[in-house]
Symmetry: C2
Subunit: 205 residues, 2 copies
């Protein structure tokens, strides 16, 4: 298996810097952290935002229950300890994606302030590359939507420790964005995130 070796391979000491990655991808890596009640619209906005970013030629990736709870975090349950570990791992993976130059879109209830703050502080410059988006929606509206039938189960006592019913949701105090999904359309919410990403220079205007 002797092959012609290209003579134009050159590299420098150390890893590729984040600045080099940013140039290569034409954007800055960042995490957009959606938090809010079940049914508030986190995933709907994240999925729509991801598509719009790709249409613009940007590079984003959604981390959500589908690809995290059944994969990386499939060995975690819903005890207090496991919930904390769930969010910790998601924060670490989002940071890796941001380091890789992508825009990580995380879509988890993440009800506890302390857990979200820990995810924030993992990031390089957490005032720039971590954007907490509170997807706000009154409980009764979220419960009426109940896309997965979870509120119904929680009200029936079949689900214990359900956020908003018998477990608290701690509202963000310093979220970069508050997206009121009971007042704005998905397109309007997506636009608000895009505007902030441009303001911060994560996306080119």
């Amino acid at each position: 298996m002797t092959k012609q070796v290209a003579t134009n391979i050159t590299w420098h000491e150390g890893s590729v810097s984040r600045a080099e990655r940013n140039r290569n991808l034409g954007q800055k890596g960042a995490t957009v952290w959606f938090t809010g009640l079940s049914g508030s619209g986190k995933s709907t906005i994240a999925v729509a935002l991801e598509q719009v970013l790709l249409q613009r030629g940007n590079h984003a990736f959604c981390l959500d229950g589908d690809n995290v709870r059944h994969g990386l975090n499939k060995n975690l349950g819903f005890s207090a300890e496991d919930r904390e570990e769930n969010i910790r791992r998601i924060g670490e993976v989002a940071k890796l994606f941001a380091d890789a130059g992508l825009i990580a879109l995380t879509s988890f209830i993440s009800p506890y302030r302390a857990d979200r703050d820990k995810a924030r502080t993992l990031h390089d410059d957490d005032k720039l590359d971590f954007i907490e988006c509170y997807v706000e929606c009154p409980l009764d509206v979220a419960e009426q939507r109940d896309p997965k039938g979870l509120y119904k189960k929680a009200r029936a006592g079949e689900l214990k420790g359900f956020t908003g019913i018998d477990d608290p949701y701690e509202e963000p105090l310093g979220a970069e964005l508050v997206l009121r999904t009971d007042r704005f359309t998905v397109a309007e919410c997506v636009q608000q995130v895009l505007d902030l990403l441009e303001e911060r220079g994560i996306l080119s205007a």
Copy 2:
């Protein structure tokens, strides 16, 4: 905070497909899994490969001890159970990166065949998008290099369960590539990986 909402936001049902991502990034997502003894040259090759890929305009990201052991896996030690979980999580994260369209370069000793095989089977089409690269090097050569002084510590009994000394390294049986770092230069090893990535259509030739 009323903003002008762009009218050109459109999206479709469901998430962005892997095919769309591949078009967007001009490559196919994949995992290149480097395995081998400590000091065999895994990280040297991975870092060099990452740089060459970025120079070509491709998008890759190294997962290694520096960014995983101190982050996502910082709550894991070196018990048999923790080692298995370490590699499991790395496999899951590499799969997420491959799903995102990036070329994940993992650089871990990953001494056990069963753990590597599990990482492989997580991937969508593990005969295409998972490339096991056995970074082979005789133990005495790796031990002479001893870049981190770990063999010395292991021989002195200060490190227990060190691969190659008092813990086994299970050689890959079906690795896509075997890179003999005692016989080939780093540039030559990098070129071998690039050739295979082109052959598989992960990179455009």
